[in-house]
Subunit: 344 residues, 2 copies
């Protein structure tokens, strides 16, 4: 395999981000860092429309922070978990930005970051990426009707009601307008491969996705990196079950990431009291944790060298009912904090 | 809006393609040009697995023609119409190629071409794009159970059972191995915007998608092109209804494309006898017409300057039932036939 690690041709920076969440997310440890938290409905009469509205608000806020209009953006990359990705289509359509729809299950946040960085660093100057998930759209689609009140297993995760949007630019004038001392640069990206280790329990996504995260990290480290370089290796919603499996799988390969590993699914809800079992999930989970918390930490120089891996389970209820196993994928984004004064 | 037309940083060529189809497609006017036509089941016990198998065969054949192994490909871009794109995940997983999942409804073929061209022309050297659709997976998911035998309206289209795969390279050694006199170069691409003109009839996708094709073409022409430059302006499955609307919409803007316009949905089935109403559709339709027919025409120098626009309707049954209209999108790819001897 060639070119496993891809590097944008021009230097690309995340010049702004915004996170929008629901009521449960507001009560979580990073709830105060969200730009806006609503009542899960966001003024709409169906949950699908509510999810679309969250994406729209997140993109609007991120553009406002970057002091850019929608007509100054070259492309937007958007995705969600709903069949045929309708929240993205209905959420982003009004902006009139050239649109690419992505589907990578919960990995879509990192998939969009990769796309936006590659495009902003080559054929385009400025891009936006956005993803969302909503407990009420995902639950009734992937599992049971909400009214049914089905029992949840200890390894199951709670789909996060949130959206996160990011604005990327390779133009130095844009970067100079950023308010923070440090700016996150997307220095390297690595797309994931589809890994299927035979897990067929759709209530244990962590186990289905952990092997793909291990595969991507192992390929990344063997291309010349070491876990010790990083302040934080952040996986997107493996939850407690998947996180433990990931650390174990990598330990066998003699990579110890446990010292610096964090998981978005374990950061968004409090440890006790919210009944989320193995943690949060959904492509709004990692997107909102990154947009609300991590981008700010990089801006203040509290985190300087970060690996972000969003993981996805590539199944639908039909594939599970047909007896198929659950393939996983994990896309990697390597972010560095660059001192704003040093950017030309 | 800036950078409306995107140009790959390095020159990118389509070095091979392959088309796989079902029984009905074999009987069509281009049936003999398919690389392989099966019995719609492709040896599998569910239609979703059959669709995955079609993608796998198409990619395998395209790689074989390019005399490349899967481990020599940097990334694959794949998509289909099924909920959460499971045919792509299950069809492409075994190759072990870094994977990006796309969702753009029937526009996904052109979306994948854009991605593969941008990546092969910047951060990568070689990419693959593949899309598929299957009458039996789409019908039961978007409309009615197959056994129900629901009546179809005159504006409805027939989802094509087919898959098309393409191999792209920016390496001149790869291009030199191509057998044809001419090689298709991806010279320009233009991502579509989401356009919603209020159509809510899910049996009239042509009307829902035509305004987005008109929008993309109008933006493309106003950036310095004219319909007269092209041998062929090929839309991906607008069908008879949508094609007529597109030509009318552009005539109002004083662009006459009727002389050079063709539509994949009208090319894949015979005019009479197959009961497909307004024509074929699905992201296997445009992919297989391009892979089976158009790429060959370019190779023989019979078509030298082509615009390909795949159009998509960004809806699902839930959005229609919730009373939402059907937004459309159309991605554009500009291909030129380049004489092989002139490529360095």
């Amino acid at each position: 395999m060639k070119n496993e690690i891809l590097r944008p041709s021009k230097r690309v920076y995340i010049i702004s981000s915004a996170a929008v969440g629901g009521e449960k997310e507001k009560r979580g440890p990073i709830g105060k860092l969200f730009d806006l938290c609503g009542d899960d409905k966001f003024g709409k009469d169906t949950f699908e429309k509510s999810e679309a509205e969250m994406q729209k608000i997140a993109v609007r806020l991120a553009l406002d922070k970057a002091r850019l209009g929608a007509n100054e953006i070259d492309c937007v990359f958007a995705g969600d978990l709903v069949n045929q990705c309708i929240p993205s289509a209905f959420g982003i359509g009004d902006f009139g930005i050239p649109f690419f729809g992505l589907y990578g299950a919960c990995s879509t946040c990192a998939e969009g970051m990769i796309m936006a960085a590659v495009y902003s660093g080559s054929v385009a100057d400025r891009c936006v990426s956005v993803t969302s998930s909503h407990y009420c759209t995902a639950e009734r689609q992937f599992r049971y009707p909400l009214e049914y009140g089905g029992q949840r297993s200890p390894t199951s995760q709670w789909t996060v009601t949130a959206s996160g949007a990011f604005v990327y630019s390779s133009l130095s004038d844009d970067v100079k307008r950023v308010h923070s001392d440090y700016v996150p640069e997307v220095v390297e990206v690595m797309p994931g491969r589809i890994i299927d280790r035979g897990i067929s329990d759709s209530s244990n996504m962590g186990a289905a996705m952990a092997p793909s995260a291990a595969d991507t990290l192992e390929r990344f480290f063997s291309a010349g990196h070491s876990p010790d370089e990083f302040d934080l290796i952040l996986t997107g919603d493996l939850g407690s079950e998947g996180s433990a499996i990931l650390c174990d799988l990598l330990k066998v390969k003699e990579y110890d990431i446990s010292r610096v590993h964090g998981d978005c699914g374990l950061m968004i809800y409090p440890e006790k009291g919210e009944d989320v079992h193995a943690g949060g999930s959904g492509c709004g989970c990692s997107a909102s944790v990154m947009a609300a918390d991590i981008i700010g930490k990089i801006g203040r120089g509290e985190a300087k060298n970060i690996l972000f891996l969003a993981t996805g389970a590539l199944m639908n209820p039909l594939s599970v009912n047909q007896g198929l196993t659950i393939p996983g994928i994990a896309h990697l984004v390597h972010l560095k904090a660059v001192k704003k004064d040093e950017i030309n």
